[in-house]
């Protein structure tokens, strides 16, 4: 949500907009009551339309992470919640690691409820993310992949940005459930990440249920 009172300049623009808005309604209202009502409805609808449209077309600022290490080093950032242990993800990491000294960092977002987020009550969410991360790292180790890990922001895109600043990465892998079962896909996390970060981003779909079926 755009907050018009975030800076003095924005508040001043908001004031000018308010003057124009009320002046138009007043002038129309003085001429004719129904004209005033019509202008009020039209202007209010226009303001709402502009507000929502302006939010959508606002271009994100791309983050460009710097390469760390030598030419033979590769850093892969994996962002996943509970899907980190899937075979598709393991295959992808192994494929991208071939021929490089690879460091893998797994980020587990501390998913929180909106109410707890706004109350900054994040300890339970971080504790749960910690457990998931620990399980993920152990699972990756069983698959032969050495990885470090950290807990990230509840917003996966923000978690990627944070990790890019601390870990830096040559590639980001986003692991999600299949379409229809993934909240992240529904929210367009992969699309937003590609818009926001100037780094190759791979989307790996991990169907844990199918893998469990195969194990049975």
């Amino acid at each position: 949500m755009k907050n018009p009172l975030r800076s003095e300049a924005e508040a001043f623009q908001f004031l000018l907009g308010a003057i124009a808005y009320f002046a138009a309604i007043t002038i129309a209202g003085v001429i004719n009551e129904w004209a005033g009502l019509a202008v009020f409805v039209l202007l209010s609808a226009g303001v709402l339309w502009w507000w929502f449209k302006a939010r959508r077309v606002e271009a994100p600022r791309q983050t460009v992470p710097t390469h760390r290490g030598g030419p033979g080093d590769r850093r892969i950032l994996v962002i996943a919640n509970e899907t980190v242990g899937g075979e598709a993800l393991r295959d992808r990491i192994q494929e991208r690691s071939t021929g490089y000294r690879t460091q893998v960092c797994v980020v587990s977002p501390a998913l929180n409820t909106p109410l707890r987020h706004w109350a900054s009550d994040e300890d339970p969410a971080r504790a749960q993310a910690q457990e998931r991360l620990q399980a993920s790292l152990e699972r990756l180790e069983q698959l032969g992949i050495q990885a470090s890990g950290e807990i990230g922001d509840g917003d996966p895109v923000q978690a990627i940005e944070d990790a890019l600043r601390t870990f830096g990465a040559d590639e980001v892998i986003i692991s999600t459930h299949p379409e229809g079962r993934s909240h992240w896909l529904e929210r367009g996390v992969v699309k937003h990440a590609r818009e926001r970060f100037a780094v190759p981003i791979t989307h790996v779909v991990v169907d844990l249920e199918a893998e469990r079926e195969e194990v049975r």
Partner: protein, 198 residues
């Protein structure tokens, strides 16, 4: 295997700053929400008296000083321009501009408040006269109280500007009163339009 997770097995690791709501943003949202509720309750009373109860507005025999209030509106809107000018001046390193802008804003705000008090003494009805009088005094008085708070903030900022505070890089002490002042101005435009004109 070396993991951050192992290092913090007993307690969750320290949060990234971004994982929490920015305190200033949260504070501003809470402030706006509280103001919306405060003014909203008074406007609800206004609409109830005028629309739902069908009370004539203004009550026959009473007359609202629309012209004086209009002049007052111009004074207050002008003060927002001088406020903006003052802040833009310090952003460009123009200290004299900041001082002049803040002083003018303070004087214009004071003029508004004094004119409001003068208007109260001549308006011819009191808060206890009828529902119309109660609503009128409550809405304009509530706004006047906000102007008073704004003037207090402006007085502090103006004094600091003459003491050599603020620079193109550090001017939050002007920015915050500026935001507040524009907000007060917007609220007056709403009050003036609904109570005096429509």
């Amino acid at each position: 295997m070396s993991t951050h997770a192992e290092a913090h097995a007993a307690h969750p690791p320290a949060a990234h700053q971004s994982s929490r709501v920015d305190a200033r943003t949260l504070g501003m949202f809470l402030f706006i929400a509280s103001e919306v509720m405060l003014f909203g309750s008074f406007f609800t009373a206004y609409f109830f008296v005028r629309v739902a109860a069908g009370t004539p507005w203004p009550t026959p025999g009473d007359e609202l000083p629309v012209f004086v209030a209009g002049l007052n509106t111009i004074i207050l809107v002008t003060s927002s321009f001088t406020m903006h000018w003052g802040l833009q001046s310090i952003k460009r390193g123009n200290r004299a501009g900041l001082q002049a802008g803040l002083t003018l804003t303070f004087l214009l705000g004071l003029s508004f408040l004094l004119t409001q008090v003068l208007e109260y003494s001549r308006v011819g009805f009191a808060p206890y006269t009828d529902a119309f009088g109660t609503v009128f005094y409550c809405l304009t008085g509530l706004h006047g109280a906000h102007v008073f708070v704004g003037l207090t903030l402006l007085a502090a900022a103006t004094t600091r500007s003459f003491r050599g505070h603020y620079s193109p890089e550090e001017h939050l002490g002007v920015e915050i009163p500026g935001i507040y002042w524009h907000f007060v101005d917007v609220m007056w435009i709403v009050v003036y339009t609904t109570v005096y004109i429509l």
